[in-house]
C-alpha cells in the first residue's frame, strides 16, 4: 500500500471522508493515514501542489482525531510547500494555524518557532506581515515567561526594521529587548540593546531623541555601571564637540564591536549628516543661558 500511486491513495482517503448516502460518518483515522502517505509520495515526486493539498487534508484529519500535535506538524509541512509555490498569504495562514494547534497542545516554544519560521520565509516578500509574525511569536513567549528564547526573535525583527530603514521602530524594538533582558537578568544583553538603540537614533540623525534615550537608560543601574554607558557618554561628548575623528575612533572601539553586526554596520557609518548643526544648537543653548544672566 505504501508504494501504490499517491493519487490513488488520495482518492481512497477522499472516499472515506466524503459523506454520502451509504456513508453516514467519515472514517478519519484511516483517511488520515492515506492522506499522509499520499503527501509523502507527492513530495518525493516533487509535485508540490498536490503534496501541499495532501498535507492540508492530513492535518485536518489529525485534528478530527484529536491529535493537534500531528496536525500542527502537517500544517507546517504544508506551509513550507506553499513557500516553494510562492503562495505567500497561504504561507502566513498555514504557519499561524500550526502555531494555534501547538498552543492547543500547550507547547508555546514550538508555536513561537512556527511563527518565526513563517516570518523568516516572508522577510523578503512581505516584510510587514513578517514583522507581525515576529511580534506575535515574541508575545507568545513572553506570556509564557520564556523571554530568554525571544532574544533571537528580537534580533531578527530589529535587523528587518533596519533593512526597511524604519529606524524609530528598530530603536523601539531594541528597547523592548532591553526590557525582556531585564526580566531574565541578562545584564550584558540589556546594556548592548540600549547601546544599540542609542546608535540607531544617532544614525537616524535624531540627536535629541538619542539624548533622551540615553537619559532614560542611565536611570537603570545596570546600564549606568556598564562599559556600554561609558562608550555612549564618550560618543555624545564627541558629537557635541563635532569631532568626526573621535566619533570614528569610538565606532571602532570594543563595546560597539561586540554588538550585532547590523548595528556595527550602522555605527561604522556614523556620523551621518551635519555635525555643525548640532554644535550650533549646543552653543545656542549656552548663549541663551548667558543672555539670561546678563539681564539679571
Amino acid at each position: 500500500m505504501a508504494s501504490s500511486n499517491p493519487d490513488k491513495l488520495m482518492s481512497k482517503g477522499d472516499k472515506l471522508t466524503k459523506l454520502s448516502f451509504t456513508r453516514w460518518s467519515a472514517d478519519w483515522k484511516a483517511a488520515t493515514g492515506f492522506y499522509e502517505q499520499a503527501a509523502i509520495g507527492f513530495r518525493m515526486k516533487k509535485d508540490n501542489e498536490k503534496a501541499k493539498e495532501a498535507f492540508e487534508k492530513a492535518s485536518k484529519g489529525q485534528e478530527m482525531i484529536s491529535s493537534p500535535w500531528d496536525a500542527a506538524k502537517h500544517m507546517e509541512s504544508a506551509a513550507a510547500l506553499a513557500k516553494e509555490l510562492s503562495r505567500w498569504n497561504e504561507v502566513s495562514d498555514h504557519y499561524r494555524k500550526a502555531s494555534e494547534l501547538y498552543m492547543e497542545c500547550g507547547r508555546s516554544q514550538p508555536a513561537s518557532d512556527a511563527l518565526a519560521k513563517g516570518a523568516s520565509s516572508l522577510e523578503d516578500v512581505e516584510p510587514k506581515e513578517a514583522i507581525r509574525l515576529y511580534n506575535d511569536a515574541i508575545l507568545i513567549l513572553e506570556e509564557d515567561g520564556k523571554e530568554q528564547m525571544a532574544f533571537d526573535l528580537y534580533r531578527a525583527a530589529t535587523s528587518l526594521y533596519v533593512k526597511l530603514e524604519k529606524y524609530v521602530d528598530a530603536a523601539n524594538f531594541l528597547l523592548r529587548w532591553g526590557v525582556a533582558a531585564d526580566k531574565c537578568n541578562a545584564v550584558n544583553s540589556q546594556c548592548k540593546a540600549y547601546l544599540s538603540a542609542i546608535l540607531v537614533y544617532l544614525y537616524a540623525h535624531d540627536f535629541a531623541q538619542a539624548q533622551k534615550c540615553y537619559n532614560d537608560c542611565t536611570q537603570i543601574d545596570a546600564f549606568l555601571n556598564s562599559d556600554q554607558n561609558r562608550c555612549a557618554s564618550k560618543l555624545f561628548s564627541a558629537y557635541r564637540e563635532g569631532d568626526v575623528e573621535e566619533i570614528k575612533h569610538i565606532a571602532q572601539s570594543s563595546p560597539i564591536s561586540h554588538l550585532d553586526h547590523v548595528i556595527i554596520k550602522l555605527a561604522r557609518k556614523l556620523p551621518t549628516g551635519d555635525l555643525e548643526g548640532l554644535k550650533a544648537e549646543a552653543s545656542d543653548e549656552q548663549q541663551e543661558a548667558l543672555d539670561e544672566d546678563d539681564l539679571t
Partner: protein
Amino acid sequence: MSVIDILTRVDAICKKYDKYDVEKQRGDGSNIAGDDAFARLYSSVEADIEAALQKAELATQEKNRAAAVAMNAEIRRSKARLLEEVPKLQRLALKKVKGLSKEELAARNDLVIALPERIQSIPDGTSNGTKQTGGWTASASRPEIRFDTTPDGKFDSEYFQQTEESNKFKQEFEMRKMNQASICFRFVNLADQGLDAIAEGLDTLKNMAHDMNEELDRQVPLIDEIDTKVDRANADLKNTNVRLKDTVNQLRSSRNFCIDIILLCIILGIAAYLYKGLVLIYLLGSFVLIALDFG
C-alpha cells in the same frame, strides 16, 4: 553556541587577510596611547620626521643626481605637510587630558614649539646654510643635532666654530632634554601598545564570557525539562521490559510443553504403525526434536 565559533573563525580569516587591509596598516601608527589624541598625533609626526631624515641621508648618499633630486623634492613635500600638522598639535597640546600633570602639559607645549625648527632642519638639498644661520640666531633650541645621524656633519662643526660658544652649551642641554623626552615617549608608547593589545583581547574574552553566561542560563531550564522527561521515559521502559520478559517466559513454558507432548505421541504412533523395524531410529529422532524444542 556557534557565536563563539563564528567569532574565532572570523578573527582567523581577518588575520589572514590583514596584509591587504591598507587602512589597518596606516592605522597601526595610531594605536599608541589610544585615548590621548595628542600623543597619537605627536608620535605620528615624530615617525614622519624620522622617515624624512632617513630619506635625507639616503639622498646625500645617492650617486644618481636625478634620484637625489626626486628624493629631495619628496622630503620638501613631507616637510610642508608636517608643518601643517603643527598648529593642530599645538591646539591638542593645550587641551587638558585626564591624568596629565601640569609639568607634562608644559613639556608638551615646549615639544610642539620645538617641532617647526626640527621639521625645517630636515635637509632637503636646498641652500641650507642661509636658512640655518637665520634660524640659529633667532631660535633658542637646536633640534637638528641628532644622536645617530648628522646628515650635514660638516656644516655643524663649521657653524659651531663661528657662532658664540656660550650658546652652544645651552642649546645642547635643551636638545638633550628634548631627546630624552622623546625616548621616554617612545618607551611609554611601546608599553602602551602592548597593553592596548592585551586590553583588546581581554575585552573580547569578557564579552564572550558574558554571552556564554547568558546562554547557559537559557539552557538550564531546558535541561531540567529534559531531565524529568527522560526519567519518566526510563521508568516506563523498565516497566515495559519487565512485563515483556514475563510474557515471553510464560509463552515459552506452556506452549513448548504441549507441543512437545503432542509431537512425541504422533511421531511414536506413526513410527510404530508404519515401520515396525525402524522404531528405535524414530524414537531417537523424536528425542532430538524434544531437545531442539527445549533449546
